[in-house]
C-alpha cells in the first residue's frame, strides 16, 4: 500500500506539473500576441504609411485562425473571436496591398485567410482566386501558391483548372519526395 500511495503522489505531482506548464504556455501565447499587437499599433500610429506593419499585424491576426480552440471558451465565443480576427487580418492585408501593390505575400495571406473562413460559412470563391492569381503574377515560380490554388479549384469542383495548377506545382516543387506527394494528389484528382 505505501508503494501505491507513493506512485499516486508521483502521478499527481507530474499531472499538476503538466497542467501548470499548459497554463504557462497559454499565458505566454496570450501575452506574446497582446504585446505584438501593442507594438504594431504603436508603429502604425507613428508611421501610418508603412505597409510592413499592416502586413505583420495581419499575419498576427491570421495566426488565430490557425490555432486550436481555447478550452476555456465556448463555441460561440470562439466563433466571435474567429470572426473578429479574420476581419482584422483581411483589413490589414488589404491596407498593405493598397500601400504596396507588389506585396505578393499580402495577397497570398489574404486569399488563404478568406479560404480559412469559418467552417461551414460560404466562401467568396472569385475573391480567393483573384488574390492567389495576383500573388502568382508577382511570384510565378512559387510552387506552394500553385498547389494551394490547385487545391482550392479542386474543392470547388473546377477540376481542369486544378489539374493545370497541380502540374505547375510539380514542375516547381523543391524536392522529389514532396513532388511525389503532389503527384499522388493529382492522380487522386484525375480519377
Amino acid at each position: 500500500m505505501p508503494n501505491a500511495t507513493s506512485a499516486t503522489r508521483t502521478i499527481m505531482f507530474l499531472a499538476s506539473l503538466l497542467v501548470a506548464a499548459a497554463f504557462c504556455w497559454l499565458i505566454y501565447l496570450s501575452v506574446n500576441g497582446i504585446l505584438f499587437q501593442h507594438f504594431a499599433n504603436k508603429a502604425i500610429s507613428d508611421n501610418p504609411n508603412a505597409p510592413e506593419m499592416y502586413y505583420l499585424r495581419g499575419c498576427n491576426h491570421e495566426s488565430f485562425l490557425n490555432t486550436y480552440q481555447n478550452p476555456f471558451k465556448s463555441d460561440e465565443q470562439h466563433h466571435e473571436d474567429w470572426d473578429r480576427e479574420e476581419k482584422l487580418a483581411l483589413a490589414d492585408f488589404s491596407k498593405a496591398v493598397e500601400l504596396a501593390p507588389d506585396y505578393a505575400c499580402a495577397y497570398y495571406h489574404r486569399g488563404r485567410c478568406q479560404w480559412w473562413h469559418q467552417p461551414g460559412a460560404p466562401h467568396d470563391n472569385e475573391s480567393i482566386i483573384a488574390d492567389y492569381k495576383k500573388a502568382l503574377s508577382l511570384v510565378p515560380d512559387d510552387s506552394q501558391l500553385h498547389l494551394e490554388l490547385g487545391r482550392f479549384y479542386a474543392t470547388i469542383n473546377r477540376k481542369a483548372e486544378a489539374i493545370v495548377e497541380y502540374q505547375k506545382a510539380i514542375e516547381l516543387v523543391v524536392d522529389e519526395d514532396r513532388g511525389n506527394r503532389v503527384q499522388r494528389e493529382l492522380q487522386e484528382l484525375q480519377k
Binding site: A104, A106, V139, D141, Q144, L147, V174
Partner: protein, 125 residues
C-alpha cells in the same frame, strides 16, 4: 559556428566584403556531422555576392514562405524582400541530400542579401 564561417562555406565572395553580417548557424543533426551546418544569414554587399555552385541554383519552391521566414528572423532588415517585383529567389538542392537546400534571396533595389541552408521542413513547397 559564426555567421562569417558559415558564409565562407557557401560563398566565393570574400567574407570581409560582406557588411552587417548577422545570423545563426549550427550543426543540423549533431549525431550526423556529415549533414553539415544549417542556418540563416543576412548581409549587405556593394557587389553581388558569388555563390559556390552558382550554376546549380534555380527558381522555385515556396518563395513567399521563405520571405516570411527571413522577415521573422531579420525583422526590418528584410522588409525589402516583401516587394516581390524587385526580389529574386534561387535555391539549390545538394545532390544526394534532399533535406539540405540552399536558398538565396535578394531585393534588386537594395544591397541586402539573404541566405539559408537547411531542410525543407520549415515551410512547404
Amino acid at each position: 559556428m559564426s555567421p562569417a564561417q558559415f558564409a565562407a562555406l557557401y560563398f566565393e565572395t570574400p567574407v570581409p566584403l560582406m557588411r552587417k553580417l548577422e545570423g545563426t548557424a549550427y550543426l543540423g543533426v549533431p549525431s550526423r556531422p556529415q549533414f553539415g551546418y544549417v542556418g540563416y544569414i543576412a548581409f549587405e554587399c556593394d557587389q553581388e555576392p558569388v555563390l559556390r555552385d552558382a550554376q546549380q541554383f534555380k527558381s522555385g519552391g515556396h518563395i513567399i514562405g521563405l520571405t516570411d521566414s527571413f522577415v521573422t528572423r531579420f525583422d526590418a532588415f528584410a522588409y525589402s524582400l516583401l516587394h516581390a517585383r524587385d526580389t529574386t529567389c534561387l535555391r539549390y538542392i545538394e545532390p544526394g541530400n534532399e533535406s539540405s537546400i540552399r536558398w538565396f534571396m535578394h531585393n534588386k533595389k537594395t544591397n541586402k542579401y539573404f541566405f539559408r541552408r537547411g531542410s525543407n521542413d520549415m515551410f512547404p513547397g
